[in-house]
Amino acid sequence: MTIKSQVNFSNLDQIARKLRKRLVKTSSSAKIPHLGSCLSCLDLLVYLYWEELSINPKDPANPDRDRFLLSKGHGAPVLFQVLAERGYYSINRLEDFGKPGSVFHEHPPKPGYIPGVEAATGSLGHGLPMALGMALAARILDKSYRCYAILGDGECNEGSIWEAAMLASGIKLSDLTVIIDFNKWQATGRSREIMTLDPLASKWESFGWHVQEINGHDFYQIKHALNNARDEKNKPSAIVANTIKGKGVSFMEDNNNWHYKTPNEQELNSAIKELEVSQ
């Protein structure tokens, strides 16, 4: 499983655009909330799954695969779309999204129900410590897989995140990379107003991490940061990705009503229209 040197950015753009449309449609038809939260981290997941992770969708349980955990588990819809598009399962399975008896609902279930899902997240503050455990297992078992977790900025309120942060740097777990989806919102307000989140990058730095700050919608910057993270051999890496909640749909961008709200028919149509013309 080698690292590609040539990244086809326009291909990534196309995938992201396609998945944005699917996310908006599913949120509307199945009444699944957290659409803003999903659109915010979509580009990060697209880059990870198409360029960064050493994975084989046809062999999802391979012990040497890289591990990805969506620590902000309420972003499950984006993970489900990405896994389908990447070939872990047929897109038809998502027709069951939100239906009674389905395993595709608001959060990822435990492994074994949906190929590619590494852990049940949804209670915030669990994913990073679990990724830490998986990375430590790789070290003890002398495996070379890497572990990645995407956290919400609000999720960084949780003490367990900082407990994991201290331990990971303490034991120099350089095969662990965290991306913070820094969209400046949490459920009920601005993340920097509810708690003192700023300065977020220097917080991670002071906890002993290798830190980079990027635009989380720019594939070129994402690539660059992940390459640097892979080159860092002494510290775990944190990438503070500045993102926009609701990215891609003008009336959802930076509007936190879309944390809970699902699009009605008219909103759906305008969103799709926008996503069709925008590049």
Binding site: G154, N157, G159
Partner: protein
């Protein structure tokens, strides 16, 4: 129930300047009125439930009356030791509210189900465990809880639960209440799921089976006098009903209570609750209740099988 809670909190805050509402980054616009009425008495503590709970005991030990509010798993099991040591051991007057309890957030998956909260919290000394059936019972219990010199846990539903209580003068902590008369079987329940029992009782009546339905309002303390009076009525069996795991909750509390009764007076107790397993195939609360036999049809089937 959520809205009734917010409204009553606003009412209480206007009379008690030591009442403080702590919320864990949920309930977006729900507390707007509260914040207007008592801006200094509301704190959004962020997504940091362990801190929120210990902080509540600190407030309580300093003369405040904190009410801690977030989704049930996060205000109970997520910060269990903070509840045990901070609130219960210190006998601190902390009121813990678990919102969306049981299967209210069924479609959000096991992380958001709370099917063990009552069992676990019941085992902590001095902690009262309440589960009101409707908003009137909730309001009565909340009024008492914020005046009580010790910790109280109240698990509530979400929104739109029907009013079930008819005798509004007898609501409060540790108050058993008959919701529907009946003389063959007696269903004792807690929480909004009692609406399913009332429905079952109506259907059974048409079929010539008489099912009484009572709300116990909570599982600790349990209304000893009420249960003793029910024992005298010589029902064929008691049925317990809770939107909670079958282990350790109301059903278990009733079995423990009955074990203290002399053998010749004992009555069979059949428990209805969620089986001892996680639920992955999801749907809304109605779907899941039905699937697990907790809806009116499931209750009817259980009673007919006795």
């Amino acid at each position: 129930m959520r809205d009734a809670f917010a409204k009553e909190m606003t009412n209480l805050a206007s009379k008690m300047n030591n009442l403080v509402l702590l919320s864990g980054d949920i309930g977006n616009r729900m507390f707007d009125e509260f914040k207007k009425t008592a801006p200094n008495q509301f704190v959004n503590c962020g997504i940091a439930e362990a801190n929120m709970m210990s902080m509540a005991s600190g407030l309580a030990l300093s003369g405040m009356r904190p009410v801690v509010y977030t989704i049930t798993p996060f205000t109970t099991t997520r910060c269990l030791e903070q509840i045990k040591v901070g609130a219960a051991y210190h006998e601190a007057p902390v009121v813990i509210i678990g919102t969306g309890s049981g299967l209210s957030y069924s479609e959000l998956g096991p992380t958001h189900h709370s099917l063990e909260d009552m069992a676990i919290l019941r085992s902590i000394p001095g902690l009262r465990v309440l589960a009101p059936a409707d908003k009137n019972e909730l309001i009565a219990q909340l009024r008492e809880a914020v005046k009580f010199n010790g910790p109280t846990y109240i698990r509530i539903g979400k929104k739109g639960e029907p009013n079930l209580h008819t005798n509004l003068n007898n609501l409060g902590i540790c108050q058993g209440n008959l919701l529907r008369e009946g003389d063959q079987y007696l269903l004792l329940g807690v929480g909004p799921i009692l609406s399913e029992a009332i429905e079952a009782s109506k259907i059974l009546e048409e079929q010539g089976i008489s099912l009484g339905v009572a709300s116990l309002g909570g599982i600790k303390p349990i209304d000893d006098n009420f249960l003793k009076s029910m024992l005298k009525k010589k029902f064929k069996a008691w049925i317990s009903l809770e939107e909670h795991g079958i282990i350790g909750g109301l059903g278990t509390a009733l079995l423990e209570w009955m074990s203290e009764i002399s053998l010749d007076k004992r009555i069979r107790i059949k428990r209805i609750g969620v089986p001892d397993k996680f639920i992955h195939e999801l749907g809304n609360q109605i779907y899941t209740r039905k699937k697990l036999g907790l809806d009116s049809t499931g209750i009817i089937n259980t009673i007919k099988s006795l």
